[in-house]
Amino acid sequence: MSDPGTRVEVHPTDDPVTSVVAIFGDVTTGSEPALMTAFGKAVDGGARTIVLDFAGLEYMNSGGIGLLVTLLVRAKRQGQRLLAVGLSDHYREIFSLIRLDEAIGIHVDTSAALAASRS
């Protein structure tokens, strides 16, 4: 069952091996088809680093967090790196609460994430 409140866009960056996956609206278990399709599209385009842009995130429940971990496992298995940008203070707190910030690098914006991905 897909979540109609989720919208995901894939954007290329100046770096050919980095793509931005911008998430809008809700992230719940039902966001899996949209998020996994976008991730697959970014990877098929040659991305080795995926920057998840949460600036448009409006709602996330614990099912959504589980989905992010599944995405993290998939990225790790394929040798890709996940970074996060655009997190509000609230969502940054949640990443800290569940200690997801130990596995996904958090940056202020895409240019900071791009700089980190090159390092």
Binding site: E58, Y59, S62, V69, V73, E93
Partner: protein, 251 residues
């Protein structure tokens, strides 16, 4: 004269009241538990575990038309009563609410003398679901989400766990039967709940998927806080403590 510019406060996220706030160390309000092996520890989810990562989903469909929210409210209120007899859940004073820490006392192998004292942090709770995160030292580094939803005319009750055994000993135990025992625990819990709300012959649908076969060797040091080791040592030293107690009583 111009007034100061009006700054609109940022809209509060819809989920703001459902999430716990981060804490460096856990603390509980539980009264009456035999042991508190949680206070002072950090929470640890599947990202911090050692073993392979499993996603387990248990579902039961309830007979008759019942509101999923009403079932969820009842489940939260009476949560400990649905657990198998091998485990006891000590609810925090405020009940199952974001940021609360419950304590658990359980026999990992029913009938064995070994008991584990551990707990869970409620990281998320709303009208349709709540999620536990385990503390360091727990056998599993996990998030467990309990939810109810309506599928047509039927209310479905679900437990979904994302878990890794916390350390190499726990991983071995999990491989040697712990995985199956853990599944049985949740299946029995859901059957008890379903019978409680009038489902005479509940059928639990179980899906178990290994989502990450890699072991996270950087977390091998989780052994230092292993509840398994502490509980086994405590059980092994129980006769000595009993004799010491007798001697102290005579003096």
């Amino acid at each position: 004269m111009k007034g100061a510019p009006v700054v609109e406060p940022a809209a509060e996220p819809k989920d703001a009241g459902s999430w716990a706030h981060p804490v460096e160390r856990l603390a509980t309000t539980v009264i009456g538990a035999p042991d508190d092996a949680v206070t002072g520890r950090r929470a640890a989810g599947p990202v911090q575990g050692f073993g392979q990562m499993w996603q387990k989903t248990f579902r039961v469909r309830l007979d008759g038309v019942q509101s999923s929210r009403a079932v969820m409210a009842m489940w939260k209120d009476e949560f400990p009563t649905f657990w198998p007899k091998s485990a006891k859940f000590y609810a925090p004073l405020a009940g199952i609410a974001p940021g609360e820490v419950a304590l658990l006392d359980m026999k990992p192998i029913p009938g064995s003398p070994v008991r584990f004292s551990t707990g869970v942090l409620v990281i998320y709770a709303d009208d349709e679901s709540f999620t536990f995160m385990t503390p360091e030292g727990h056998i599993l580094s996990a998030w467990i989400t309990f939810s109810t939803y309506e599928d047509g005319d039927v209310t479905v009750v679900q437990v979904q766990a994302l878990e890794r055994p916390s350390d190499p000993i726990d991983e071995l135990g999990y491989m040697l039967g712990g995985n199956r025992l853990n599944s049985r625990f949740w299946e029995e819990t859901l059957r008890t709940l379903a019978r409680h709300v009038g489902t005479s012959d509940p059928v639990v649908e179980t899906t178990v998927v290994c989502v990450d076969r890699q072991r996270q060797w950087r977390y091998v040091r989780n052994l230092r806080r292993s509840a398994t080791i502490h509980s086994m040592m405590r059980t092994a030293s129980a006769p000595g403590r009993w004799v010491a107690g007798l001697v102290r009583g005579r003096n």
